[in-house]
Symmetry: C2
């Protein structure tokens, strides 16, 4: 099997899990799912360790998150931390990371994924990645397609095409990338069985992605070529600092995946979740008999279906309330019904408008 | 007019307004109603100032609340603060305070009331007290009867009897003291117009109460006689410390008022409230356009009818929640629907059972 590198994309604005998440403590550093104690980025790196030990994991993140990232991944080699001087969406990030890997191993296969997803069935996930790596080794660009479990309108979908000749069993061509559907279409997708969730997990050979970026995203390819030359001259940081912020703001989905002639998809039924809101933290959390997810010293009386988080030492009493999210921190408190968890952004926007960036 | 002293009874366990109220910071020290900044005990003393300037106000409270009481009433003369070595209900408290007043002014009229009620119409309240003082001057024991505004089942009632001959207009005899009624009876009381709330506001001449205690509560009368003698010998504190904790635990309502042959009642329509729960703090508080009572830096979006309190500097975001009580403090947080505010005691009991007296 090819040597596999994993590129973890770890940006994030820290709004959807406010007040626990902050600009300098976004979602990937929280322990929102799983055992409740492991930061999501740490769990992400561990999850791929059988394919990519930490020496072959690269993390691309904001410069102001460098310290938090090092703390969450203490074994990450210093040279594997790529700090973006400015967020420019995923295409520049993937292209830069690909070039960085390619200098170390021109034949490497790269897995790209986000730092802040949850996987319930890790063995199934790793098996899907292994299939994707085998497929990518022969030159395909591969995406994982997650078997949908609900008529989700918040994700893009992959329409399954033909079987891919010569690839492992089950691997198909992507027939089409489908935008986020409305609710009726999402129900059709779920019932039809021909649409999978696009989880943004891509697998490709470094040289293949490099060529695709050259073909479809010329300005980014030029910049990355320059980074390569600067790196060889020991001057990469300066080149990145001056050029990266000017790169086009484009996603790898739109800029590359949807443009290349053929993308392969490996279906994966692995309990993936993007952990998109406090509602997801309830769905994925350990619930007590009354269906509460409690990470606080709490007194609960006739209280069901709540998410309760508070700092150590703080006592929280919930009496007669149901299906609420109550998240307390030393300087900010949120109370919102679980089903309206996506409204958290309204609070963040209102606080930003008031200049209370100290609590954001 | 007689010289009027006011005895403010200021005990309280601090449970109904937990987590804002604590054992060492019970309700009378909170600013739950009115301007939102004046502690209730301070407002109580100010309310009677035209009858009893602070030099003629006595406060009876728990020894462990002495400092907090002095802070809330900085002008209270030191000798006007009566510290109970143990709470023994209101009869010992009233008897002791009466004796203390009587030594200063044998003909004084005394107003007894709680430290932690709210009065919306203070002029009407003062007029009622003036009528009560005039009635008490001639030897009657007088109680204020509050015109009910709802079929309250949480209060005792006074059944109006005949007009009291020789008393100011409107003053009646108490026909009967009526226990807390069930809901149907409370509705009858409200509709019938012959029942008033017993607010525990009593007015009497010192010598008259002293005689009534002697007649109906001999052991308490004996003890108070002993306190009197000790006080004249400069040794009252020791006498109180040794005897007071052994006094019978009995209320002045049950031990005196219901036993004496005739009690006069002065009807008062003055917006009295005992501020019995967080629900009352909502009813009495300043509400915004969305009917929220907010004493916090708050972000409210589609949030109506809530009570929100938090310490200075803390940001509270309430999104899509209605009719909740959200009270945050540095070490404890409460979330409860307003209509279940009385359940707060459950949380307090649960925390006591866990040994978390540090937050009680």
């Amino acid at each position: 099997m090819a040597t596999v590198y994993t590129v973890i994309m770890a940006g994030g604005s820290g709004t959807r899990f406010w007040p626990l998440s902050r600009k300098l403590n976004p979602k990937q550093f929280l322990a929102l799912a799983g055992d409740g104690t492991t930061p999501m980025i740490t769990a992400t790196a561990r999850r791929v360790a059988s394919l990519s030990p930490i020496e072959r994991v690269l993390v691309v993140t904001r410069a102001d998150l460098a310290d938090a990232t090092r703390a969450a991944l203490p074994d990450l080699p210093a040279e594997n931390l790529l700090l973006e001087p400015a967020g420019r969406n995923t295409a520049p990030c993937v292209a830069w990371a690909t070039a960085t890997v390619q200098r170390r191993d021109p034949q490497a296969v790269i897995v790209v994924l986000a730092a802040d997803a949850f996987i319930a069935d890790e063995p199934a996930f790793v098996r899907a990645l292994e299939t994707a790596v085998a497929t990518a080794t022969t030159g395909s660009i591969v995406t994982l397609g997650i078997t949908p479990t609900r008529p989700e309108t918040g994700y893009g979908y992959l329409h399954l095409g033909d079987a891919l000749p010569g690839a492992p069993e089950g691997v198909r061509r992507v027939g089409a990338f489908v935008e986020k559907p409305d609710a009726p279409r999402a129900k059709e997708f779920l019932a039809g069985g021909l649409h999978l969730w696009n989880a943004g997990i891509f697998v490709f050979r470094a040289d293949v992605m490099r060529a695709a970026v050259r073909e479809h995203l010329g300005p980014i390819a030029d910049a990355v070529d320059a980074f390569d030359r600067a790196a060889l001259a020991g001057d990469e940081a300066r080149a990145v600092a001056s050029v990266y912020p000017q790169l086009p703001n484009v996603s790898v989905d739109y800029g590359v995946m949807e443009k290349v002639a053929e993308v392969a998809v490996v279906p994966a039924d692995c309990g993936w979740s993007d952990v998109g809101s406090w509602q997801a933290s309830w769905e994925l959390g350990a619930r007590d008999d009354a269906q509460n997810v409690v990470r606080a010293e709490a007194v609960l009386s006739d209280a069901t279906g709540n998410v309760v988080l508070a700092p150590a030492g703080k006592v929280v009493a919930l009496l007669g309330v149901h299906d609420l999210v109550v998240v307390d921190t030393p300087d900010a408190l949120l109370v919102v019904p679980r089903e309206r968890a996506q409204d958290v952004k309204k609070a963040v926007d209102a606080l930003a408008a008031r200049g209370r960036t100290d609590v954001l």
